[in-house]
């Protein structure tokens, strides 16, 4: 009781959250940081002997930076496609009457009840040599031999878009929900056509939702390793898959730790830059 009286209420309220952050985020990162400076013996065993070898490996071999760069490019492409493809359905959803709205939102997330891995695997049957698309094209005589649709960057992006699109739609939809229809109507009475009113009122108003959706899509697509592992080809280089490679099959924990730390740092920098660009406050508050 004495302790509780001494601590101000706000701190008492955030305490559980702070403990969670400390236990599940700060502590693991610190331990990953420690690992990255330890030595891996050829046997795979890790010795708590200080070394800069793992970091030297990252900074001297241009391979790693190239993979990082390609990952960011694929994530950006995924995000842009999600935004372009996701905005119209989100807008339609915001205009629809309340009766159908609930049903459609449920349907939007219906696929997520199936494991993400299974959904990713299902693309094999769609895009594979004997898959749906190729069978149809061959059957129709459009192509003479199966197209190489699978195991390249395209199929990875497609899998990622498939995975992330509902999240984008939901975020944009929530952003659009806050649009005051009266303000749009006001623009129309003042002489704006439907399209002009959309550009002048609805779109700027939906930007917080859109930018939140973009951030989410970008972070999630940059961090995933299942999709590139399943749908990527020999030419696909994906950073998260690289970390997986070094930690699991190669059992090189110290190198994996260094790679992971670099990734966390780069994503954090992107987050900060993005926040500066679109304004974090504006993203989380929306327009009052």
């Amino acid at each position: 009781m004495i302790g509780a009286r001494a601590i101000p209420l706000p701190w008492v309220l955030v305490a559980p959250g702070l403990w969670c952050v400390a236990a599940f985020i700060v502590l693991p990162i610190v331990s990953v940081g420690a690992y990255s400076f330890w030595t891996r013996l050829p046997s795979g065993e890790v010795q708590t002997v200080f070394t800069l070898g793992n970091w030297r490996e990252f900074f001297t071999d241009p391979f790693y930076v190239a993979v990082l760069w390609s990952t960011l490019k694929l994530s950006t492409a995924t995000t842009i496609i999600c935004a372009l493809v996701g905005y119209p359905p989100a807008y339609a959803l915001s205009l629809i009457g309340p009766r159908w709205k609930g049903l459609l939102v449920v349907m939007l997330f219906l696929p997520s009840w199936i494991s993400y891995v299974v959904r990713t695997m299902s693309w094999l049957h769609v895009l594979g040599k004997n898959g749906l698309v190729n069978s149809l094209l061959l059957g129709a005589g459009v192509v003479g031999e199966p197209l190489p649709l699978l195991y390249n960057d395209m199929s990875v992006v497609m899998g990622l878009v498939h995975y992330l699109l509902p999240l984008m739609i939901l975020n944009v939809y929530i952003g659009l929900q806050s649009v005051d229809r009266n303000v749009v109507d006001a623009a129309r009475t003042l002489g704006a056509t439907d399209w002009q009113a959309f550009l002048a009122v609805t779109f700027p108003w939906s930007l917080p939702g859109l930018s939140a959706g973009c951030l989410l899509c970008f972070i999630l697509s940059a961090g995933t390793y299942v999709t590139p592992l399943v749908l990527g080809g020999p030419g696909t280089s994906y950073y998260a898959a690289l970390i997986y490679e070094s930690v699991i099959p190669q059992a090189d924990w110290p190198l994996g730790a260094a790679l992971a730390l670099v990734f966390i740092f780069v994503l954090a920098m992107i987050l900060v830059a993005y926040g500066r660009l679109v304004g974090m406050g504006h993203m989380f508050q929306g327009i009052k």
């Binding site: 005051d180 009266n182 303000v183 109507d185 006001a186 623009a187 129309r188 009475t189 003042l190 002489g191 704006a192 056509t193 002009q196 002048a200 009122v201 700027p204 108003w205 327009i287 009052k288």
Partner: protein, 354 residues
């Protein structure tokens, strides 16, 4: 003879099986200020939105200065509309809010500057050009919304409960302001409200709506003094209900019995031999003592049951003619006490017989 500016002919709007507006005929003359008055859900907003073009009528025709505008899209109708919640563009400054309509009219820049300034002068709100709506008070936001609607020099001005989000004092002030602006511009105006005081004090003509239909229309005095239906009567405050039977004639009035041994004089001619419903507004009767027995006035013995002190006014609940009646009157001196024996005075023309 002024011409008709807005003409609604047999306009209906159905949302599924809900008749939001039914068989509505409405004419607004050039420069006239018409108030659409009615309780919540009676179809006022829907009517306004149909005039603006934001809603398509299910049937019927809408004319604007002899031109049928059913198929004219909103952005070509040239109407100025002021919304209940102001509906300002939150991410634009006051200046840009007002200039919005002018930009779509391809007005040159210097002209926009001049007209926005003039509009701000008219609503008496200069020096706020660079502020965002969130940096303005409720009343100031309302003035910007009005400026934005009038700066485009619209053919008609539509208000949808523009004052309902303001507090009482400000509402009074804006009432006078809006009226002044409307007079200055001489612009045809339809003003939607559920506030009777607003409708009566501002408009040239009041249209009372009920359940999507036009219930009554006329000058403010007309609808207030001579309601043609019980709904309209009750809309303007508390109404006592009594039953009377014609028992005789007395010059211009008729004598009606409203209880055993209690007769009153009622203006007009009424059918004899059957009970007739008599309505009496709470503020049209007087509680007192020693009233002079003038012709055309009835004096009924009464007992005060309870009184509510309302500041300048007092509300009495009195027993008279075998039932409880409500009377609201100015408070002169001290109020009568509960249980006191008093008299109730009613003028013959204050009984409402429908």
């Amino acid at each position: 003879m002024s011409t008709v500016a807005i003409d609604l002919r047999r306009v209906e709007k159905w949302f599924g099986t809900v008749g939001a507006v039914v068989e509505l005929d409405l004419q607004v003359r050039d420069g006239e200020f018409v108030a659409l008055l009615g309780s919540s859900g009676c179809g006022k907003t829907t009517t306004l939105r149909m005039i603006a073009g934001l809603e398509q009528p299910t049937s019927g025709d809408i004319f604007l200065k002899d031109r049928r505008i059913n198929d004219v899209p909103v952005h070509k109708r040239n109407v100025g509309m002021v919304f209940q919640n102001h509906a300002l563009f939150p991410h634009k400054t006051a200046f840009d809010n007002i200039a919005f309509g002018l930009k779509y009219r391809k007005v040159p820049k210097p002209e926009i500057q001049r007209r926005v300034r003039a509009a701000l002068e008219l609503v008496r709100l200069p020096h706020v050009e660079e502020r965002l709506p969130s940096q303005l008070s409720g009343g100031q936001q309302q003035r910007i919304a009005v400026a934005r609607a009038i700066v485009i020099e619209p053919d008609i001005l539509l208000f949808d409960e523009p004052l309902s989000s303001l507090d009482a004092g400000l509402r009074e002030e804006m009432r006078i302001e809006l009226k002044r602006i409307q007079r200055t511009l001489g612009i045809t105006t339809v003003f939607v409200t559920h506030d009777q005081a607003e409708a009566l004090s501002m408009s040239d003509r009041v249209v009372v709506m009920h359940d999507g239909r036009k219930e009554q229309e006329g000058t403010p005095e007309d609808v207030f003094r001579r309601p043609t239906s019980e709904f309209v009567t009750r809309f303007f405050g508390f109404v006592n209900e009594l039953t009377g039977t014609v028992v005789g004639d007395d010059g211009g009035c008729q004598v009606m019995r409203i209880a055993d041994g209690v007769t009153v004089r009622v203006a007009g001619k009424h059918e004899a031999g059957r009970p007739i419903k008599l309505l009496l507004r709470a503020e049209r009767a007087r509680v007192g003592r020693g009233f002079a027995p003038v012709a055309d006035v009835s004096i009924i013995p009464a007992t005060v049951r309870r009184s509510d002190y309302l500041g300048m006014l007092v509300r009495y609940f009195v027993d008279a003619a075998g039932q409880q009646l409500q009377v609201i009157q100015p408070l002169e001196g001290s109020a009568f006490r509960d249980g006191e024996r008093v008299e109730l005075r009613v003028r013959a023309e204050d009984w409402i017989v429908l």
